[in-house]
Symmetry: C2
Amino acid sequence: MENKLQELKARLAEINDLNSAAALLGWDQMTKMPPGGAVARGRQLATLGRLAHEKLVDPAIGRLLDDLRPYEQSLPYDTDQASLIRVARREYEKAVQVPPEFVARLSIHQTESYEVWTKARPANDFSAVIPMLEKTLSLSRELADFFPGYDHIADPLIDFSDYGMKAASVRAVFDQLRAQLVPLVRAITVQPVADDACLRRSFPLERQEAFFTNIIQAFGYDFGRGRCDISPHPFTTGFSIGDIRITVRFQEDNLSEALFSALHEAGHAMYEQGVDPAYEGTVLAGGTSAGVHESQSRLWENIVGRSRGFWQFYYPELQKTFPEQLGSVPLDTFYRAVNKVQRSLIRTDADEVTYNLHVMLRFGLELDLLEGKLAVRDLPEAWRARFEADLGIVPPDDRDGVLQDVHWYDGIIGGAFQGYTLGNILSAQFYQAALQAHPAISDEIAQGKFDTLHSWLVDNIYKHGSKYTAPELIERVTGGPLSVSPYIDYLRVKYAGLYAL
Amino acid sequence: MENKLQELKARLAEINDLNSAAALLGWDQMTKMPPGGAVARGRQLATLGRLAHEKLVDPAIGRLLDDLRPYEQSLPYDTDQASLIRVARREYEKAVQVPPEFVARLSIHQTESYEVWTKARPANDFSAVIPMLEKTLSLSRELADFFPGYDHIADPLIDFSDYGMKAASVRAVFDQLRAQLVPLVRAITVQPVADDACLRRSFPLERQEAFFTNIIQAFGYDFGRGRCDISPHPFTTGFSIGDIRITVRFQEDNLSEALFSALHEAGHAMYEQGVDPAYEGTVLAGGTSAGVHESQSRLWENIVGRSRGFWQFYYPELQKTFPEQLGSVPLDTFYRAVNKVQRSLIRTDADEVTYNLHVMLRFGLELDLLEGKLAVRDLPEAWRARFEADLGIVPPDDRDGVLQDVHWYDGIIGGAFQGYTLGNILSAQFYQAALQAHPAISDEIAQGKFDTLHSWLVDNIYKHGSKYTAPELIERVTGGPLSVSPYIDYLRVKYAGLYAL
């Protein structure tokens, strides 16, 4: 059995090496590659992806997994060996379920659809994408049907990013959240909008970088096992537990842009840097789900990085960094500016309070489309109606409405969005558990100290990698299932200090 | 036949993609990777190398090459199709000739030998490397014997880097060169050493970079298909014809270091950027031999970049870039400084005139070792004797003698060095041919214009990639075989302007 486990590990390590190489090619493409490299890079990425897939669906892996089943069952569930075999089986079964012919067909359609979308969005031309989206919807249904036995047709699609979550349970949680969030947004947005002019001055890039580098190092991001570069869209990627990199986008006249994306991406990156080094090169390295991953970026960006305590400590340093720009701006003005709430059209620009309404709207529309309740041609109208109901404003066009996100146009319909809001909910639920274990954490944050929080996260979440599913991890860490209460409480308390509620 | 050729191309493109990915992992390792990434990176490179090798020795490639032989023979020798099949067959036959068991054994020994060398060199302890080198020598012989039918045991080893060159012909050429170079060095080095203090002032790095970036762009290096980064040792690497990158090493107090390595690496890079785009992803992309590659780095670095005409144009600009450091230094002093000749111990620091004596010494010792004329334990003594005969000085220790280069300690004995001097010889031979075609080139250089030279090199050398072997290319370009005369003439004329000869 030891030999078979070794062989499985060797095969998985080879797949991991191909995927890590592809990740580096992707990182380079977004950060360093000259324009002339683009065509060959696309071909190289396709080759690596194909080879990794071929090696994963090799029947030899299936036989090893079968042979190892009695061994797995003889071990406690949460041993590393049992977990490795279990998670590898999950990945293998997902991969072999989908015929290569379908993968190729979907990929060709996605490329075509993306091309159409890149022209349709600036032209505000939803009619151009209708045939594309109709085919995407039909392919998404076809994909789901390779995984028979689901309760809801979205379940297999949600499983790809948030394994163990289901449409019904996510919908129930989102309904609760929405019921409390819509009145909260209304109560805030009838009041005057916070003034964030202080963030819109000229902030030289080198000093921006020095300032946030200092913060994320204090958080616990290890530059000996990572680095920060510039890219058109911020992201986190990794090639091993010892090499997890982040990127940011700078704007000279917008202090929030690079600063908060650095805190956000550092949260993602600390999760992956914190995985048990023994999981290197195995399927247990990396985060367990999109939602849990997003909980870490949001915890560090928002719960820590937009808190009053945090800025009590860091604002004087920021003023020293930018004396001309912020020397005469009081802490309170700055704190209000970085927590400005405003009804807006674009998800990625939305504040902490309204953001989830954008996400839940998309999740609801995905379910309606998959269930056949909503036709693609009626999508813009449904978008506007829901937008008005939730946010009290109507998008003036489709460009900044249903055409704004790339997800449906280069991906599938179903499972693309829920992780963002699951992450926000979980950020508060995990943070509450951390505070219960160590009540001094919030005082420590106000002293620029993050060790207790970071260590607690490593011990309770990061080090496990993807050993536990998200529902298992939530139960282990918080003693109960996913719950919106800590998040709603967090928002209520925080925003009661900023607005009359 | 078209189908078989397409299948061969598809298989070669896949191998090319794996090798390109490995090259990017290597580039990243030397330029961007945080220390924490090192262990996994080694494993990832080993995996990609193994997969590329497995795919190259696949018997299906052998069958395709057999099936394509009549088609190849029906085509003119220098058509792209015939060349592709011919060069692919050469690569395939080289790869299948060496048993995987031997490759693994050699690789393990090389790693061990390298480890011993990294400690032995600083400790000046040649005795520690004797058992390593003895095994390297025996493995090098074993490797050569996988290619029976050679005239000299070094021939198959020379073939790896300079295909088509032979020990006998290289030795004959080197004997001629040495006979003329030793007296030239003697005549120069009895005279006072040039003063290069003007290169040793403090030169801020940003301005160094701006200055050489401007020059290599003027040469014809395309930053839209490349970039320049910093690494511990300068190198050129590429991931496609559209993405050929260079690196340099900066020293604040040594103007030569980054400047001339940039010109050198840009020469290598322009060769690879200039390959016919139709060869992308095939075995025809990339340079044809180590010697021809080095001819291009040396042509741009030395023949162009250390010429008086070049500095007549660029020195005023350099003075404007560094007014405090060079404003009062006359052109003549600067020109003498960048062409300073001095007998020295270290090959990589040697000037244009003495450099080849360092290389030929190593080549001669390789042949003696392989022929069994020289025992490994007698190598330091042989080194010192030849060094004194050629350069008139004796290395005071082995650290800066026989232990100085990594080549024998992490590679094989045979074929490692000749390319450097073949490159110097060819740089002058090719440049002479360019001047014959376009006598205005030297005047253009003195006006900061390089288009005629660059275009001639693209048309006559670069665009062919590895379609022609080095001997074929030399014959095509110069109308004759490799010849030392142009190089000796170049050195005599140039150094007669600097020294009393």
